[in-house]
């Protein structure tokens, strides 16, 4: 039984956020603005939830006639999954926005990007896909632009390069197949490949163009440089959506590569040591992204930068998993799409709360907040456990699937990269815990208060799936099985099984509780503990007062920095900056060289053109 007629699902999904965003901007009265924002952010989740049964019975199609083009949309089991993740994050994000943002401008572009992302997921032809892709890019750009021009332009230029690579690739596909709708493209490309009417170089070019297009949005190395700046220089509640859901558009693009032109790519690039060639490239891009971004995350001195790099690294896991090219890999990647969205979204909301309440972002200014913001701290702890992959959290279940997939796919070095990446993830979340929540509290943070209620609600919305899908990973795995219509991951609600391994989250939880109970009993058996202040501590036998700063807040991982030494001298950020400067200089040179204000030279240009025409034989 469905509560909404199938025809209304997609329009509601796409238009409610955008329309309420524009209304919030137009009315811009405190109270109404927030209400409209909440409506716009929560409606997609409600619609998506109500469409669940309908989608399982068959995809929902919707066509929008825009005169020149016909836009088609398609809510299948796969796109429902992505849209549901985005809608979940969006609903938590709007609660955060209520607390952190007070302008109609923010609401308009926030909700516009919600529409953009949902549109990208449900689009069923390249026109709709590209339109919504650009809407999403533009809206997120406007959000960054408000805070920081340089960061936003960097993001915009890279996004534009990505978008126009995409449009080139689409044009190349259209030129050969004459189709823009996904089914037509798939069929056309398949036929062309089967009849050898398409050259390998042509397909390779399309592949590279798409890699650039989707790589920019997903933040794949070496196109990740926009992310640390853009993620940090915006409203942090918005980053919940930006990094939690918007980056998934790129990930979805990589999946589209398989669905639309997978056969052609397979034909064109072939295999490498038994692996699908084009997927193998993706797997390595993902692995490098994981390692590079995680190393950089460890060395950051700013909460926002740390989580920005961490986001890039975690999306790297997804690309890596998709690159494995096996059913298990897809399952792991899709699961990680959900778990990354929920734990990283939670992290950004926590960051938003910290910044809202303290106004500080650098680790050196923070400390000892656990006592002041206990609920936020509890939420941060859940996010930390999930990201670091501690059973039984959602983050562990998805990482476990990726591990199993990578090793079973016989890609040992790629799997080694995940091992390294997860240790690094451990290191950077602990850094965050240590510098923000523990140790001495700087005296100017004495009157910090708990985060406001809407933010807490937003955090709770994202914390619940972390735990629920952690203890019952089978809920997600079963749905993923439905997407692929085969049993990729076996087991029941609590248990995941693969051909060679098994993970029973419920048993792990129960035994962990038993273990904690035993340890707790030992603790209770001992003498009562007396609470002492932070300054009552061991300092080689010296007395300690509040003037001493005993918490290491700066350069926590200095030895790692030294050990990495020469590697850190190579920076793509600097490379792009230099490249941009070169182009700028070239532009200056062109302008000054040709528009030199000398009438004589303009006369010469005329003469030269005439000469060229004469030589050509026109005159």
């Amino acid at each position: 039984m469905s509560f909404i007629p199938a025809d209304y699902v997609i329009p509601l999904l796409l238009f409610v956020p955008a329309v309420s965003g524009v209304l919030a901007w137009a009315i811009n009265v405190k109270g109404i603005r927030e209400l409209l924002g909440l409506i716009g952010g929560i409606t997609p989740l409600a619609v998506i939830a109500l469409a669940y049964n309908t989608v399982l019975n068959g995809p929902i199609n919707y066509t929008l006639d825009a005169r020149v083009f016909t836009l088609t949309f398609h809510l299948s089991t796969l796109t429902w999954y992505f849209a549901a993740v985005a809608a979940l994050v969006a609903s938590a994000m709007v609660f955060g926005m209520v607390s952190t943002s007070g302008s109609g401008y923010d609401w308009m572009f926030t909700l516009m990007s919600v529409t953009g992302v949902l549109g990208v997921f449900v689009a069923n032809d390249f026109i709709a896909f590209f339109l919504f892709w650009e809407l999403m890019t533009f809206a997120s750009f406007m959000m960054v632009l408000k805070r920081n021009r340089h960061a936003s332009l960097k993001y915009f230029v890279l996004s534009i390069i990505g978008a126009y690579s995409m449009i080139l690739a689409i044009a190349m596909i259209y030129a050969k197949t004459g189709a823009l709708d996904f089914a037509g493209v798939r069929q056309g490309m398949y036929l062309l490949t089967a009849t050898h009417r398409i050259s390998n170089a042509y397909v390779d070019t399309i592949y590279v163009l798409f890699l650039v297009a989707f790589g920019v949005k997903a933040g794949v190395w070496p196109l990740h440089v926009w992310a640390p700046d853009a993620y940090s220089e915006t409203d942090q509640s918005y980053t919940t959506f930006f990094s939690g859901a918007l980056s998934k558009a790129g990930v979805y693009g990589f999946l589209l590569l398989y669905l639309l032109i997978g056969v052609s790519l397979y034909q064109a690039i072939g295999t490498f040591h038994g692996h699908i060639g084009f997927a193998y490239i993706m797997a390595w891009l993902g692995a490098i992204t994981v390692v590079v971004a995680s190393f950089l995350a460890v060395l950051q001195e700013d909460i926002r930068k740390l989580f920005a790099y961490s986001s890039i690294g975690q999306v790297g896991y997804i690309i890596l998993a998709f690159g494995l090219g096996t059913g298990l890999g897809f399952a792991g990647g899709l699961f990680h799409v959900l778990s990354h969205a929920v734990f990283k979204g939670l992290f950004w909301l926590v960051t938003a709360a910290i910044i809202l309440r303290t106004g500080k972002t650098e680790f050196k200014d923070l400390g000892g907040l656990a006592e002041k913001m206990p609920y936020t701290f509890a939420m941060a702890l859940i996010a930390v456990l999930s990201l670091a992959g501690i059973p039984p959290m959602a983050g562990f279940a998805s990482k476990w699937l990726i591990y199993e997939a990578a090793i079973s796919a016989h890609m040992p070095l790629v799997a080694g990269a995940i091992f390294l990446g997860s240790a690094l993830a451990f290191a950077y979340v602990v850094r965050f815990l240590y510098a923000v929540w523990f140790g001495q509290r700087p005296s100017d943070l004495e009157d910090v208060q708990e985060a406001p209620l809407p933010l807490l609600v937003g955090m709770t919305i994202l914390a619940i799936p972390n735990i629920v899908f952690g203890i019952a990973p089978g809920l997600v795995a079963n749905y993923i099985n439905k997407i692929f219509e085969t049993d990729i991951v076996g087991g029941n609600y609590y248990k995941l099984t693969t051909p060679s391994g098994t993970y029973n989250a419920l048993t792990v939880t129960l035994l962990l509780i038993v273990g904690l109970a035993i340890a707790g009993l030992v603790y209770l058996y001992g003498a009562r503990a007396r609470k002492i202040p932070v300054t009552d501590t061991y300092q080689s036998g010296n007395p300690v007062t509040n003037e001493f700063n005993l918490t290491i807040r700066k350069n926590f991982y200095l030895p790692l920095k030294e050990a990495l030494g020469s590697w850190l001298k190579v920076s793509f950020d600097r490379f792009y900056e230099r490249l941009a400067n070169l182009f700028e200089d070239f532009g200056d040179w062109l302008r000054e060289g040709f528009y030199n204000g000398n009438v004589q030279s303009y006369a010469w240009y005329l003469a030269i053109i005439l000469l060229v025409l004469a030589l050509w034989g026109v005159l």
Partner: protein, 297 residues
Amino acid sequence: MIDWKLILEAIGILIYATFMGFIFMGIERKAMARIQRRVGPPLWQPLIDTLKLLGKKESVSHGFIYDFGPIFALGATIAALLFIPIANFQLFSSNADLIVVAYLLEVPMLGIMLGAMSSGNPFSGLGVQRGLLTMVAMQLPYGLAVIALVQHWGTFMLSEIVSEQQMHGWSITVPALLLAFIVFDIVFQAMLGLEPFDIVPAPAEISMGPMVEYGGKHAAILFTQHAIQLFAETTFFTILFLGGASNLLTLFLKQLAVLFISIFIASIYPRFTIDQAAKFFWKWPTIIGIIAVLLTM
């Protein structure tokens, strides 16, 4: 439907593991003493130490997380132990495979660090930093060794790895896995926190690092945790490379062998600094590990 036999087995194994863990700690101290021509303490000394700590009249606390840290560490260690098939006792091992166990064996570290960090002591902070960097450094070769093993035996299930070895000979008799074994043994030294990788507590340098603020019952819990962890990790090693064991006596002998290798290495090497350790782990063990995984592909 409650499986009473399983529960009794689990309780029995837990008691046995705790006791044996303490004995292993005693063996460690005794062997170290004999290597340095001392008599050394009796074998049950760590047990006495722990009971003494537990009997302290007062302990201090820096707050909730400070208390929760050691409890979490001990709880996670107990959970990890129960997922490992120990000799002929399968316990809960059919519910979790190698990756889960490997992760669960690392969780206690998070607990210890959580508690240590919340004390706000600079030595603890330094210890946490060193602990995490050691983990970052050792994880790559560790992962490679595990991957080589899984690729060779084709399964993630610990009990199946044991039965495969009982059919086809121990892991270390396979040349590629012998390399993985060497890597794992180097990493193991860091897992146990023995020289040259006892960088985390580093007694003479940073006054026990994470544990510096802990006394009384907190320290007792951490000692117990260490004992169980020692038992669990040596068992894990035995399962992966030495063919597991069909009874507790065989297991004990194999654990002892594993332990003695570590003790001998530990007693003749001085400590690495943390950046040396990182560079070391990313050089030879990683290279050997890569060779091992490529050979098993």
